[in-house]
Structure formats: C-alpha cells, structure tokens
Symmetry: C2
Subunit: 220 residues, 2 copies
C-alpha cells in the first residue's frame, strides 16, 4: 500500500490518490483531464471492495464520473486495462519483495523473506493477484512488457540463489522449483483450498521457513 505511493518510478505511472482526489475536485470539465490515471485508481479501489467480479468498465466509468464509452479513449478494450493493472501489480510485488528481504542474514533467510513477502502481497491484494496470475489476460503476446515486468519477482528469487548452489545443482531448476512451491502455496491459500485455520499469520511464516529448509541441502 504505502509501497506503491512511495515508489513512483513505475512504467505505468499513477498519480497518488491524494493528488487524484484533488484533481477530481476541480470544476467539472468536458475533458476529464486525467481519466486514464483516475480509472486505474478507481479500479484499485473497486478491486479491494467488490473483488474481481465487481470490476466492470461501466462501474469504473461511473466511479470516475464519466460515461460508459469514455474509457475506450484510453484503453482499446478491457484486457488492456487489466494488463495495465497487472503490470502495476507486478511492479509493486517486486518492490515489496525487495524491501522485505533487505538485511537478510543468510541466503536461506533471504529466500524465506522473499517467499513470505510474496504470500503476504497476495493475501492483502487478493483480487489484484488473481488478475496478475489468472487467465483474464488471455493474449500474453499483446502485452509484451507484461511478461518482462512479471519476471522481476521471479528474478529476485532466482538471483538470490545464483552463485550459492552446491556444485552440480542446476540453478534454473532449483529456482523454478522453489518458485513453484511458493506460488502453489500462495494460490492454494488465497483460493481457500487449504484449511487456513492451520496457518495463522505466524505459523505461515514458520511453514515457509521449514519449506525453504528443505531446499537448504542444495545450497553451498
């Protein structure tokens, strides 16, 4: 949350909520003046409130005080909007992970912190995470920058492992393996396929710690 407002160098820059609100206070103009950003901000709010189902272009238009067709001046279709949202999400995820993992004592510790951060992000941004990794973005080829941005969080995991592996261990194999565990646990928790009662906030960290420990013998 604060992460996003603090970190401004996004490829899809979004005005802070405060500045945006001031923008909306301006006397009504035929031209909104900042509709694209307003839509993205409204989308973030709508996602938090009503989840992924509540996010419709019409609802977004109404939230920004504009007619249904207006968004189409800034996004070719809904997918393009979702791609923008997802890309911002990937940026925030990578930033939060990097932040949360600073000052790690060891490679293992860094891995644990990265994974916990990943899961935490998903938990506090469930709908956003679903957009980022769901099947709403069908044509990945349409949004080439998306895949690149999405790779940043994986790169954090991957580079945390690089050069710290026991001889003979394939780096790519191990990082994909760990990412799979991380991502699988996340989606299962988010989608409530795991009885969460056995994972309190604290015990989830412990779970991650023990999981990463399984990978430790592969490290130098």
């Amino acid at each position: 949350m604060t992460v996003a407002t603090m970190a401004r160098p996004l490829t899809t820059p979004v005005a802070s909520d405060e500045a945006l609100k001031a923008d909306l206070q301006k006397k009504f103009k035929y031209h909104h003046g900042n509709l694209r950003d307003a839509l993205l901000v409204a989308a973030r709010d709508l996602l938090e409130q009503d989840g992924i189902e509540g996010l419709s272009l019409r609802a977004l238009a109404k939230a920004t005080g504009v007619t249904q067709a207006a968004p189409y001046s800034h996004f070719r279709d809904k997918d393009e909007l979702l791609a923008a949202i997802a890309e911002e999400g990937f940026q925030r995820l990578a930033i939060q992970m990097a932040e949360d993992a600073t000052g790690a004592a060891s490679t293992q510790d860094r891995l644990k912190k990265l994974v916990v951060s990943y899961i935490s992000f998903a938990q506090s941004n469930k709908a956003l995470f679903q957009i980022m990794f769901g099947r709403e973005l069908s044509d990945l080829k349409r949004f080439p920058t998306l895949a690149m941005t999405a790779g940043k969080s994986y790169a954090l995991l991957s580079s945390a492992l690089a050069g710290r592996l026991k001889e003979g261990v394939d780096a790519r194999f191990l990082s994909v393996s760990l990412w799979s565990l991380c991502h699988g646990l996340t989606t299962l928790v988010i989608e409530q396929k795991l009885s969460i009662d056995s994972f309190g906030t604290a015990s989830l960290e412990e779970f991650v710690a023990r999981s990463v420990d399984i990978f430790s013998p592969q490290l130098a």
Copy 2:
C-alpha cells in the same frame, strides 16, 4: 479420457457419450428425458473446444437442443453446474492419479508418478482444471461435497507419505509442501507463466523427478 468412460462409479454419474448420443437420436420429446447428463456431456465438449470462456448456459442449451431456460430445471444457477463439472473432474483426477501410480517401485517413485499424473491431467484438461481450481466457484460452502471430493487427490499424495517419514518430520507439513510445489508448477505451466520450451514432455518428468528428490532426505 478413457479413464472416465471406464470408471463409472461417480457420485455424479454421467452417461457415456455413446449412450448419450443414442439418447439424442430418439424422436424429439417435449421432455428431453436426460437433460442433466446431456448438459454435463455437452459442457465437457464445449470446454475442450472453446475453453472456459465459451462455456455459457445458452451455448449449452443450444448444444442440447433446448431453450435457454431449460437448464434451470436441473441447476439452480451456473455455479451449480460448474460445481457438478468440477466434482466430476476431481473424481477423474483422483482415479487417473491412482491408476498412474500403481506398481510404483518405491515411495519416491510413487510420489513422482502421482505428481506427473497431476500435471498431465491439467495439461490435457486445461479448462476443466481451471474450473476445478479457479475462482468460479465462489461459495465453497454451497457445495460441501466438492471440498471432500477435491481432497481425494491430495489424500493420495498425503497417504503416500504417511508412515514413511524420517522421525521428527511433520507429515502434514511435508504433504502440503509437496502438494504446493506440484500445484504451483502445474498452474504456472498451464497458465504459460513458465517458458515451456525448456520443458518438453520428457524433461518435465525429469523436472518432477528431481523436485521429488529434494524431498527425499525427509523420507525414511
């Protein structure tokens, strides 16, 4: 595929495609006679052809030669249909996994075969798998049998580990951990978040084998 036609003791029994086709050949009656099953079969076909987006109640109605509102005599809403589809999917998944893992030489071998079976199922039934584990089924409380059936495939993994752990290793922890890795890898592959070029059909099995080997030190 053949698994489903061979194994008939499903909680939601579905007539075989052949028998169903014969059913449809019958002279048209005002009462369809077997609409519920026909809808589920048509849904399976539609899912394979057009994916999850193409699966609409209206398309299903048209496919079974019936008007839009007819399905509502058998399913309260779309979610109830999806739940039935998902439940059948979970049954098939568990059956296939059990089949594919028979005759395993060791615990490790059995685990590998179970995981590979899981991924294979998802690959050859992408849309179905998405329904099973996606967010379409919002209210899990509405379909209490679903969670139970869904647990069967996990139970296979879990019981393959039971009693074969090194002393001091928590069974639940390890099975959830392995399942997370399995499920995460699956969704990432399915959703094309992993560059698949590095995973041929053969090399994916090898990847799974190596992943399971990471867990081996935890086994007795």
